[in-house]
Amino acid sequence: MGPLAIELHDIVKRFPGVVANDGVDLTVRRGTIHAIVGENGAGKSTLMKTLYGAHRPDEGTIVVDGTERTFRSPSDAIHAGIGMVFQHFMLADNFTVWENIVLGDEPGSPLRLDVHGARRRIAALGEQYGLDLDPDELVAELGVGEKQRVEILKVLFRHAKILILDEPTAVLVPHEVDELFGSLRELTADGATVIFISHKLDEVLAHADAITVIRAGHTVGEIDDPRSVSAHQLAEMMVGSELPSPETREKTVRDDVLLEVRDLTIEAGAVSPMAAGALPAAITQGEVMGDAAPVVTVAGGHRPLDGVSFSVRAGEIVGIAGVEGNGQAELIEAIMGLRDATGTVLVDDKDLRGVSTLERRLCGLGYIPEDRQRDGMVLTMPLWENVLLGHQGGPPFVRSGMINRSSAKDRCGRIVEEFDVRTPGIDVNAFTLSGGNQQKLIVGREMTADPRVLVAAHPTRGVDVGAQAVIWDILRDARAGGLATVLVSADLEELIGLSDRLLVMLRGRVVAELDPSNLTPSELGSYMTGAQQDPAGAAP
């Protein structure tokens, strides 16, 4: 057991009306990889921001290498040897790798940049820790994994001995994950300390030397030997109770096919026509418009969506499994008419070629987007106006171009009541709702429109256990009522539990069709990475 690198005692951080951290303790030994797990909103990011100096805690002490510290800004933290690698990269795309690394901490005198010294150090650091990069390549041309390496090198270049990584594997494909942890191992072997936040419990168990579990702003578990716990136990610590089960009961599949997708394809390099050009400056900066897709296109060179065909019957849930960035998002956008694709989409035998997204809703398509705050609602509008969103194409909310406010308000009231949306009223702005309640509002909005087919992307991502159980119930009830559902999720238990059939996507193609009734998450995981092939060959 090495000496302690970091001790956080009784950290309390309050925001107006909420206590994000309510007495959190964290102890990290030098030279270890330490994982922090917890649900969304448990206070992990707040804690890391405290450690990184992005804000000051209201109470509690920070001890780094045995010395108590007060960080007024991130630069104080960097001086103390603490560096942060953010989930969303902060790199200048039109600069090269080495320029990005030195940016903000340029070596040499104010008048002369020590280019050779900088490049030598970067090369040495890269070689030492297996962070392989061409220093002269433009960052715009790098894949996600390489960009992450640039971020890590940037932190190392500033002499950080303690690295914090916020969900570093969320955007990586499996072999990149292995490379990442390989590099992190090299770092810890050299005496550095790594703290990483993750949702992927299998990964945490495989790579972490110690784990701290945070729930509702408290430290609820400190595990020194990850071999002593299972992913299931860890998950139960995170949520503080028995996990609700997504298990569905009897089959309700009927004969009539409600959604049929034939040979859906998006060519490599195609960018959503709506994303290109014509938007107010803020939109075109990449942050908003499906940024995952173009990245994959550049990195892989394959078609984002490659000849995908399947059908969904009434009363059936078809789950789409896959590592993020393998075509699931594109598939959904193509079904909803948000991206141009070749091939056919039939809803209730009606060909949707040339039908706009708004009209598709009127044809009986419901849609729960992946990122509720980015795509699913307008936070600065009241709840009742958010009920209109996506459904402004026609009746009952819009007639001859004018909005029927009372019908939207009535519907909103009904959603709040039926779907257990906890809110003081329908006139409050959407940002006042918690994530789970925002999601219940969106699910309610789609379900009360009586769709024949529902496209649900990550319907319970980042919501609390209570809301998750409610949403699962809603999906199960709708299934029993004859709804055809396409379910995309990164939560494998959710996929296996809710789906009647599972399709696995890899590099834009459906590579396996599986029966979830006797499938374990780890089996499914091996199909998703391509390690295991469909016994019956690729699905039609």
Partner: protein, 380 residues
């Protein structure tokens, strides 16, 4: 609702105080007494004549503010209102003088020409943005200069009134194309106008424009799509709004309204377009849309304040006080208001989130924390 109203009024009040303080410092540096100055300014506006003058001047300001505001609502900056209305007024004046029509139709014809020209000129910037991604700020600014050049060319020869001597201007509109004043209407309501004081006839059109703007924005699907596009472009696209079409339509609409800016002076006062025609109304519109927070009533208030400051400073030079104090007052008011709006917005949003959390049944604190963190830390 109450909190929003209080917030809405607190910011301008704060801004006014800051503006008066800044102007007072400027006056003290110039060696003038702020107390005397502001007392004199107040006296100037204390008459029917002044109020009428202020309303007359505020009308085109208001139209300009609304024209710009509709673009602002979806983060489009139509800096080109200046060029759009000048070309619109010029061509409308020329076309109006060239035809003979019965009175109401003639007025409608002149306005229609101005609207079409304004819309068509704005469409250039819209098409460039949608087709090639050209930033509308740059293109509309450059198009302003082109408009000025075109206007100068047209006035130099093709549309010039040959009998106007040295003045470069179009032929005057006939009586059938002029808007009558509103004195008669108000006199039947018991108001008295001193002789020579005229309440100009474009006011009802401006009010109708404001009501139409409100209905379009808050009651129509187009307005809903526009507001969603402005507040969350990604959600707008996901919901099925076509961003390109939205951008193009909004720029054209903004230009169409901008075409009307010059109608108040043209139809009630000038009756021809020439060198004497007011040229700075487009830029005033930018300031007023900001000051009035793109709200139909807010812009009206801003337009009245603007015109009031201008009226109040008119008499200062006769007293030996520099008139520039009016511009300082306007400028510091605008700057302070923009800052105050942002401060008040953050406070009310935080308070709103807190109040909602308190009144919400059974929400664990951590959930609210998550919501707060996910809105980009807006709550703290």
């Amino acid at each position: 609702m109450n909190r929003r109203l209080v917030g809405g009024l607190a910011a301008p009040a704060l801004a006014a105080a800051v503006a008066i303080a800044v102007s007072s410092i400027a006056l003290l540096i110039a060696g003038e007494s702020p107390v005397t100055t502001f007392r004199e300014m107040w006296k100037t506006i204390d008459s029917t004549q002044s109020v009428t003058f202020i309303v007359n001047n505020a009308v085109p300001y208001y139209v300009a503010g609304v024209a710009v505001a509709i673009g602002f609502k979806m983060n489009l900056f139509n800096i080109g209102a200046a060029g759009q209305y000048q070309l619109g007024a010029l061509l409308a004046a020329a076309a109006g003088a060239a035809v003979t029509l019965p009175a109401p139709v003639h007025v409608a014809f002149v306005m229609a020409v101005a609207v079409v020209v304004g819309a068509a000129y704005a469409a250039i910037a819209g098409i460039l943005k949608v087709w090639r991604g050209v930033n509308e700020v740059i293109s509309t600014i450059m198009l302003n200069y082109i408009a000025i050049g075109i206007a100068a060319f047209l006035l130099a020869e093709p549309l010039r009134n040959d009998s106007s001597g040295n003045l470069a201007q179009t032929r005057s509109l006939p009586a059938s194309a002029r808007l009558p004043d509103l004195n008669g209407v108000f006199e039947t309501l018991g108001f008295d106008f001193p002789s020579g004081v005229v309440l100009q006839g474009f006011l009802p059109f401006a009010i109708a424009l404001g009501i139409g703007y409100h209905l379009l924005l808050n009651r129509s699907r187009f307005g809903f799509n526009l507001r969603v596009s402005g507040a969350n472009p990604a959600a707008a696209r996901t919901s099925g709004v076509n961003p390109k079409r939205m951008v193009l339509t909004t720029i054209i609409l903004s230009g169409a309204i901008a075409g009307l800016i010059g109608m108040a002076p043209l139809l009630t006062e000038e009756f021809s377009y020439g060198d004497q025609f007011p040229k700075s109304l487009g830029f005033t519109g930018l300031a007023l849309a900001l000051l009035g927070r793109n709200h139909p009533v807010g812009i009206a208030g801003a337009a009245l304040v603007w015109a009031t400051i201008e009226r109040a400073t008119q008499r200062l030079s006769t007293l030996g006080i520099p008139q520039e104090i009016g511009v300082i007052l306007q400028g510091s008011f605008l700057l302070a208001a923009v800052i105050a709006y942002e401060v008040v917005r953050r406070r009310t949003e935080a308070a709103e989130a807190r109040a909602a959390a308190e009144r919400t049944p059974d929400v664990p604190m951590t959930e609210v924390a998550a919501a707060g963190a996910e809105t980009g830390g807006r709550a703290p």
